[in-house]
Symmetry: C2
Subunit: 246 residues, 2 copies
């Protein structure tokens, strides 16, 4: 039987989602909890994609196979009792044996949080980028409009990646305030390695007048990582939701 679970995690204390030797990762914590439930048997967990160190998830999706006969609505309770406090299973659902959290994902939503005003806040240090510089929100929105649609995003992809096809489609980018924070929300069919963080870094350059919004057009076409902005830190980033058919 295959189960699809929606999970949330605070990325602060993780070296990212994916298993790495001698590192604390979300996947390894999940697999350890599942192994305990399965009397020591190894259970392989597949996620919708990796998230980097410090990156958070509100709605990451995973799947795994099980022989246990636990009622579906008891699965979150069973797993949460074995998981550390910074991972929480919000939902479990029995799915078709061919379902795949990564390959069946139709779209992903990411949000990036930026704190613009006030003194540095110790309670936000792991949850928002502190960026107390004047930003032109209209310039950010204008710049973001050039990224919408289907493009080769080589200019916005970290060099170390194995992915060949760098064409992705961004459906929506919203720039809005939440309290005193600025949120940049992305909806796309998929994102390359560090793509959201490089786009945010580039939009912050536009917001500071370091580049004109229309230059985004040329940066995309050039397919050259050196032309786009810095990769902003992971701790402001949230994998918000993964979309599937039905």
């Amino acid at each position: 039987m295959r189960l699809k679970c929606t999970i949330s995690y605070d990325g602060s204390q993780f070296s990212g989602y994916q298993v790495q030797p001698n590192k604390r990762t979300v996947q390894s914590e999940l697999q350890e909890a599942l192994s305990k439930l399965h009397k020591g048997q190894e259970v392989r967990v597949s996620g919708s994609g990796r998230t980097d160190a410090k990156v958070h998830a509100v709605g990451q999706v995973i799947h795994f196979d099980t022989f246990l006969e636990i009622p579906t609505d008891r699965w979150p309770v069973a797993l949460n009792s074995l998981l550390p406090e910074d991972i929480f299973v919000t939902e479990a659902k029995v799915v078709d044996d061919h379902f795949h959290a990564r390959f069946d994902a139709k779209a992903k939503e990411y949000r990036y949080r930026i704190t613009q005003s006030g003194p540095r806040d110790v309670f936000k240090r792991n949850y928002s980028l502190y960026f107390p510089y004047a930003l032109d929100k209209t310039a950010i929105t204008d710049a973001s409009s050039y990224l919408l649609g289907t493009h080769d995003f080589t200019s916005f992809c970290a060099a170390r990646t194995d992915v060949k096809d760098k064409v992705r489609t961004i459906y929506e980018i919203d720039v809005y305030e939440e309290g005193t924070d600025l949120i940049i929300r992305f909806l796309g069919n998929g994102f390359l390695y560090n793509m959201v963080r490089i786009i945010v870094g580039t939009l912050l350059d536009a917001g500071q007048g370091l580049l004109q919004p229309s230059e985004l057009k040329d940066i995309i076409v050039a397919q050259d990582r050196s032309l786009s902005g810095k990769t902003v830190p992971g701790h402001g980033l949230y994998l918000w939701k993964v979309y599937y058919d039905n």
Copy 2:
């Protein structure tokens, strides 16, 4: 020269404010940073009072003596550059050589945060008590009214304390909602060891109908810790502000 500093800290990763052997504490981090600034010389820091493990501070106040000639407005910058990310100095002020952060404190404000609804939120696990049970806010407010004024608070003080005089005055207790959270705010001339956390535990009992608000009167008079409620966890508690004359 004596300096008074207002500091904020995220208590999650601290074994409390006060120095303890082989533990990470706020005071020891402050003293270490100050010692670096003073070319290795030991600098003793005095706080307005201790906070326990996991307890946060928005406006803790400390004082220390220094021979350094740093302009007052540069002190926070100098200290923050040496302090870990979970402590932040918000303000520094030169004070009279007789000023004492603890003995001159006229009043203290604490806030306790309770998350009442929704599934467990990984992002709040260190910052709010998760308590998804029905609470009668009016009963909490009613119960709190009996605590106002000057009383012997023995019933609301942890057994392990050296303090003899357990008479304190509570000026204000407010019970209000902030978003989906319930906040209980305390203003008093001083608080005994664990006093706020035991009062909150008792008010939560009243909020659940486990005791009548008017029973608070008898609990105070009895001077018996076994009659009051549980000590709620430290991670929902914030030392919000310390008040001084001028």
